[in-house]
């Protein structure tokens, strides 16, 4: 009888005590890589981001400089409450100083708030929402790599200027999809184009034939895919089946990563136009990085998310060294003060609203005959200079920016 009680009590406490067991004293810089490791975004971020963070710490030479750096990682499963609970535990109990990556805008926004409440730091590489440097901007967060505005601006503008002036939107019926559609539509209209139709599909739609038929009937020159992940790849694959490109229309991928192109294969993905802020085959430095990265990550070449994690962690360590401390708010402020320079993004800056600035690139997917092998997928169509690539600082409604 007593044994049973004790057993139950022991079970509960033992199982619950697990997560809190690892207590590390300060004097260590602890970096937490939080992202999706098991579902939609596992390939474009996932374990690769952890590898990128480790490479950043090693390349920075942390041990030689006498800095102790530790990296932990966890899977937020694309759930805001799981992500938020891990973040709280990391910040409160596990002495994590900065959380990086966080794809999935819902989770990123939740953690953005927590980091602000607790005075810690957050470096976002994976999430897309431009609100992170807009309405939801915070003195504890820097939004690295990309956002919906940059993608809409790059792809939308460049395509209209090269003749793609009538658009049909295929939008995922989620806040993120709506935002992408809204931002791109604004850019298209401003550049003199027209939007001749839109259709919103539920998330995780398997069959796009009906929507593709509507897109074909609209006779728009460009079909804008305001969705991501499986929805984008399914739409493109079925578009090839229905002869979209043969019929004279083109797909514009508003959020496409090199891992998606890899999953589709060049015969299906050729001709796709998209904007990214990093490509592994741009110059010698990026190629060298990609080679080392691929060796450590099952042959996968780095996406812009991975590159962003590398770049952000590098700059963070520089700021911590200069500041000789790791207080979240202070480090972020220091990161905004110091100009950035790394092998992957070159020179750049971090603005007052927390937006990292660097050039963006318009890419087109090569034809199978133009590619020399796996991962050789993109050709460069245009470069958008850093000052034009991101939303102007006064248009974001960020409370940190004085008008």
């Amino acid at each position: 009888m007593r044994r049973a009680r004790i057993l139950v009590a022991f079970l509960v406490v033992a199982l619950a005590a697990g997560p809190a067991a690892a207590q590390i004293s300060d004097g260590v810089i602890k970096i937490g890589v939080l992202n999706d490791q098991s579902s939609l975004y596992a390939d474009l971020a996932g374990q690769g981001s952890v590898v990128a963070a480790r490479m950043a710490v090693e390349d920075y030479g942390a041990d030689k400089k006498g800095l102790k750096v530790e990296i932990v990682s966890a899977d937020h499963q694309n759930k805001p409450d799981v992500g938020s609970q891990i973040a709280r535990q990391w910040f409160d109990a596990d002495k994590v100083d900065v959380i990086v990556d966080v794809p999935n805008s819902g989770v990123a926004l939740a953690i953005n708030q927590i980091a602000k409440d607790k005075g810690k730091a957050m470096l976002v590489s994976g999430a897309a929402t431009a609100d992170l440097s807009g309405k939801a901007c915070s003195p504890n967060t820097i939004h690295w790599t990309y956002d919906t505005w940059a993608l809409a601006n790059g792809t939308g503008n460049a395509i209209v200027k090269t003749g793609g002036d009538t658009w049909f939107f295929l939008t995922s019926d989620y806040a993120f999809g709506h935002a992408l559609e809204r931002d791109t539509e604004a850019v298209v209209l401003k550049a003199g184009g027209k939007v001749v139709g839109k259709v919103r599909h539920p998330l995780n739609t398997q069959d796009f034939s009906s929507f593709l038929l509507q897109a074909q009937a609209s006779k728009a020159k460009i079909i804008g895919l305001a969705n991501a992940g499986g929805d984008t790849t399914n739409a493109i694959k079925q578009g090839a089946e229905f002869g979209i490109v043969r019929g004279g229309q083109n797909f514009a991928g508003l959020l496409v990563f090199i891992t998606d192109v890899h999953a589709l294969g060049l015969p299906t993905a050729q001709g796709l136009i998209m904007t990214e802020t990093f490509y592994w085959d741009m110059n010698d430095k990026t190629r060298a990085f990609a080679k080392r990265f691929a060796e450590r990550d099952r042959g996968i070449h780095p996406t812009m998310i991975h590159a962003g994690v590398y770049s952000a962690v590098t700059h963070y360590l520089k700021a911590v060294e200069a500041l000789k401390g790791d207080d979240g708010t202070k480090v972020i402020a220091k990161m905004k003060e110091m100009p950035t320079d790394d092998a992957l993004f070159g020179k750049g800056t971090v603005r007052a609203d927390g937006r990292k600035i660097h050039p963006a690139y318009l890419f087109e997917v090569k034809k199978p005959t133009e590619s020399k092998g796996a991962w050789d997928y993109y050709k460069l169509r245009a470069t958008i200079p850093a000052e034009q690539a991101f939303r102007p600082i006064d248009q974001g409604d960020c409370p940190l920016v004085k008008k």
Binding site: A4, V8, V13, L15, A16, G18, K79, A110
Partner: protein, 323 residues
């Protein structure tokens, strides 16, 4: 569902609570009161909310014999209602939680009225259908914030006195709410009402022939289960300061089944233990990515094949008294 372990013995003396159960309850309270000083309290609060959710679910499946595959609808809707009330209407936390619970109660009554005539797999399916419709509503409605959810919900001050931003204050509030819900479930089961439910589960036509309106009793049990699930959801929204689509997704309904099954269907303490184990595992395995689903699936399989009574059910069998 056939009669689960433990529900048969002590029912005859419905008025007196068996001594071993009092002792088990005291042990549980003791552990939970001491725990936040050793274990990260936010994790404990999450586990407590889910434990309450699982107890509510267990009421329906363990004692009425109905497997609902749509209980997430109540958890999530109450969460949205409570989050909205606290953030947009400025309700103090206790009012927000009560509001959320009421929303779940109304939803439970409405859905219950429509579904209670079904049984077995049909019941599971029709509850799933309604839950999917609520999920769709949550995606479309603007106040829910779509996949971003309702963020930055204020914790506020309880009864104008206790600042819930203090973790320990929040914890003991949640513990209080959990114990309240737990005791309501216990009282419902060990009462004449609970006896009738048992009779209905064992032999419905006979219960009806004795003059009991079975549908009424089942509906009340359903609504009660929904209300307590709502209480869990509304509290969770205040603790985590957010309400999101995860809580109305059908996989959440699957998780509560897992917790209850693992802990022990139809036992009193089973859902609590099951919830703590599952949440603990999720935490532990978060570092390992995709392994969480694999382990959860494996637990399902093992439990169904060899461990059908669940942790507490087996314990109850060992000590030969229902827990």
């Amino acid at each position: 569902m056939p009669a689960p372990a433990g529900a048969d013995v002590a029912e005859t003396a419905a008025a007196r609570v068996p001594r071993h159960q009092v002792q088990a309850f005291a042990a549980m309270v003791g552990v939970l009161v001491a725990a936040p000083f050793f274990v990260y309290p936010v994790f404990l609060m999450k586990a407590l909310c889910f434990a309450l959710f699982a107890c509510a679910f267990n009421l329906l499946i363990g004692y009425v014999g109905l497997l609902s595959f749509g209980h997430a609808a109540f958890l999530g809707s109450a969460g949205y209602a409570s989050a909205h009330a606290a953030k947009v209407w400025g309700f103090p936390p206790e009012a927000a939680i009560v509001f959320g619970t009421l929303v779940a109660a109304l939803l439970g009554g409405a859905i219950g009225a429509l579904t209670i005539r079904s049984r077995g797999i049909y019941f599971a399916n029709i509850t799933l259908a309604f839950a999917q419709m609520i999920f769709f509503f949550a995606v479309q409605a603007s106040f829910t914030g779509g996949e971003d959810g309702i963020q930055a919900v204020p914790r506020g001050t309880l009864l104008g006195v206790l600042d819930l931003r203090q973790t320990h204050t929040m914890y003991f509030t949640v513990l209080g709410i959990f114990l309240l819900g737990f005791l309501i479930v216990y009282r419902a089961i060990h009462s004449p009402f609970g006896q009738v439910l048992k009779a209905i589960r064992e032999n419905e036509p006979r219960a009806v022939s004795l003059g009991y309106r079975a549908e009424h009793y089942k509906l009340i049990a359903f609504a009660l289960s929904a209300t307590l699930a709502g209480l869990a959801g509304a509290t969770k929204a205040i603790v985590f300061q957010l309400a999101s689509l995860t809580d109305v997704h059908w996989t959440m309904s699957g998780e509560v089944v897992l917790m209850t099954l693992l802990g022990g269907l139809g036992t009193i303490f089973g859902p609590v233990v099951g919830a703590f184990i599952v949440i603990g595992l999720e935490n532990y395995l978060a570092q390992l990515g995709a392994w969480v689903t694999i382990v959860q699936g494996a637990i399902f399989v093992v439990c169904v094949l060899t461990f059908r009574r669940g942790v507490v059910g087996e314990l109850g069998r060992i000590i030969r008294k229902p827990l």
